[in-house]
């Protein structure tokens, strides 16, 4: 920041008066204007901004939906239909919110796999990365709670299945379940508190996102080479370079988002959720939303209730240990010929698990789920530690600049640089 000589200097009298009392503008300036960004970032690095945008979309549409929604078991289903039929643009707000949740997960999965591919979880970014895992857990809880609110068949049975999962916890499970239900089974008190928590958690996500961005701005961003910033020549200023790139990527993502809202608004949901909740009949197939399917497949792969629950939660929590399970000192998989292949195998296994999660729990599907579950955990517990020990990485470039301009040119900063790079702020100071 100061290396660029572009620290915020208040000009007007009022700005100086305010800055000396609360240096807010200076904080924003150093974090989002003059902040140094590696010059070689690709478009996978725009998903952080896209995720912040989606969080904003979800909070805004959610607050407006709550103005019309009635969280009691007798009225919830009808109030959602009221939103769809009577409220001006209610259909749009609801479709934005429902599909927005899916788009939020599309973006977060790309963001997570980007971090795993480029080794963004390794030192010194462990805390940054674990904060991300916490955000992901909060997102999962929020999405589950939100899906129960329309009080359709999938809402009711989803709530029943998940609260029964918690009852598998030894000793305290039944107490936790009773406190969540507020009764002897899933019912109106359950729906009321789920609505309250669904409204609360997004603001907790906002809080952890602030910590996540703070940690990011302490360690600086990783980049496709995985090598650290060595000089001012390796970076460009956040504004305008990253800002404009993030805005462009967010606009493209919004086109994708709009396609679902306006052309396939119910494709990612379940028809059964347009049937009011009925405690006496289970839908033929209880299937969670697509973004939970891999974990659902893991849950069903184990023919033991507690074991399945442990593995399912373990599958998320094991992500938090990646910084210490991966023994390689090279961050980016671009320079790891063996691990790179295992990485893509892991991605494929995750997608197959998702496919299996939507299939009925019988015969070959169960066996395939068991094999994929074993591989999922083996990736973290065997592949990450062992490949790092035995693999010979490719030669790393000397610097981020060299990776962009080719070897030997890094000294000559005046020529042979890409157009964007030539406009970089002065970095000699």
């Amino acid at each position: 920041m100061s290396a660029h000589g572009t620290a915020y200097v208040p000009k007007s009298g009022l700005a100086k008066w305010f800055e000396s009392r609360l240096p807010l503008v200076g904080l924003v300036h150093s974090s989002f204007v003059s902040f140094p960004v590696p010059r070689n970032l690709n478009y996978f690095w725009t998903f952080g901004a896209i995720l912040i945008m989606m969080l904003g979309v979800q909070i805004a549409t959610g607050i407006w939906l709550a103005m019309h929604y009635d969280p009691s078991a007798n009225a919830a289903f009808n109030s959602v239909e009221h939103i769809m039929r009577d409220v001006n643009y209610g259909w749009l707000l609801r479709y934005m919110h429902a599909n927005g949740a899916s788009m939020f997960f599309v973006a977060v999965y790309i963001h997570i796999f980007r971090g795993l591919y480029y080794g963004s979880y390794k030192a010194p970014r462990e805390v940054l990365y674990i904060l991300g895992v916490i955000i992901y857990l909060l997102m999962m809880a929020t999405a589950f709670l939100g899906y129960t609110l329309p009080w359709g068949q999938m809402s009711y049975w989803g709530a029943t299945v998940i609260t029964n999962i918690l009852a598998a916890i030894p000793i305290v499970g039944d107490t936790i379940q009773s406190l969540l239900w507020g009764g002897y089974s899933v019912g109106s008190p359950t729906l009321n508190r789920f609505f309250s928590l669904h409204y609360l958690l997004p603001f907790m996500i906002v809080g952890v996102v602030v910590l996540h961005v703070w940690a990011l701005h302490v360690t600086g961003q990783n980049n496709p080479t995985g090598i650290p910033i060595k000089s001012g020549k390796d970076v460009v200023a956040f504004t305008p370079y990253a800002t404009i790139k993030d805005v462009f990527a967010a606009a493209v993502f919004m086109i994708f988002f709009a396609y679902w809202i306006f052309y396939q608004p119910n494709y990612l949901g379940h028809a059964d959720n347009y049937v009011p909740a009925n405690p006496g009949v289970t839908p033929k197939h209880i299937v969670p939303e697509w973004y939970f399917l891999p974990f659902y497949a893991i849950l069903r792969a184990v023919p033991d209730k507690l074991g399945g629950v442990i593995l399912m939660f373990g599958a998320v929590l094991i992500l938090a240990f990646a910084p210490w399970l991966d023994t390689s000192r090279v961050r980016s998989s671009n320079y790891r010929p063996i691990y790179r292949q295992f990485f893509w195998l892991f991605v494929i296994v995750c997608i197959i698990l998702g496919w299996l999660g939507a299939k009925p729990p019988e015969g070959g599907y169960v066996i395939a789920s068991q094999i994929c579950t074993a591989y999922y955990f083996a990736h973290f517990l065997l592949v990450m530690p062992l490949v790092g020990l035995f693999e010979t990485p490719n030669r790393l470039p000397g610097s981020i600049l060299e990776s962009v301009t080719g070897p030997g040119k890094q000294v000559d900063s005046g020529s042979g640089m890409p157009v964007g790079a030539a406009a970089a702020p002065p970095s000699k100071g």
Binding site: T160, S185, G187
Partner: protein, 187 residues
């Protein structure tokens, strides 16, 4: 702890240490007392508890082989009028073959072997099993494939245990009261 000029304060057992511990204890108790109403308010409320009073079920209209659904405390309960064949098969199973071994006599009330009363949610994750389905002709769960026999006993996982039996008593031959046991309503 510094010793004062008068020499009254000792390194341990001083008034300051006492104040420190007392303040800490008051803080801990106060925090717990303040947190308690928040946690307790999430437990089933008085109206919900009142609505969970015992429920009378008339068995007379239930035909042989029929399963009816009743709700008590928001929970689904199956009442099944078992055929002679179903009773015999349930009694003849070797206990060593069972995942959660229980003789048929422990699943019904003495002298009322044809009436099976069980909770209607699978012990795996709470889905509603479908009656008269699967190789044991008891129940088959559509969610994760658990199978139950005509005594509500689990015969194939992932369900870990038999369908639980709610508290109930017979009041005559054709009436049961669910939610009562040993002459008084259950908590």
């Amino acid at each position: 702890m510094a010793i004062t000029e008068s020499g009254a304060a000792k390194p341990d057992g001083s008034r300051r240490d006492f104040l420190f511990l007392a303040t800490g204890a008051a803080l801990a108790v106060g925090t717990g007392a303040a947190a308690w109403p928040f946690v307790a308010s999430m437990a089933p409320d008085a109206a919900t508890v009142a609505a969970g009073a015992p429920l009378d079920v008339d068995l007379a209209p239930i035909q042989e082989g029929q399963i009816i659904n009743v709700f008590w405390r928001g929970k689904l309960i199956f009442v099944r009028n078992r055929s002679e064949k179903e009773i015999k098969e349930s009694q003849d199973v070797k206990l060593t073959e069972l995942i959660d071994p229980q003789p048929d006599s422990a699943r019904v009330k003495e002298g009322h072997a044809k009436w099976l009363v069980v909770y209607g949610n699978c012990t795996h994750l709470g889905c509603v099993p479908i009656g008269h389905q699967g190789p044991y002709q008891g129940w088959s769960c559509p969610c994760h494939g658990s199978l139950f026999d005509a005594a509500g006993r689990v015969r194939r996982g992932p369900a870990p245990s038999n369908l639980p039996i709610p508290p109930y008593v017979f009041e005559g031959d054709t009436k049961i009261r669910i939610g009562e046991e040993g002459g008084k309503a259950v908590a």
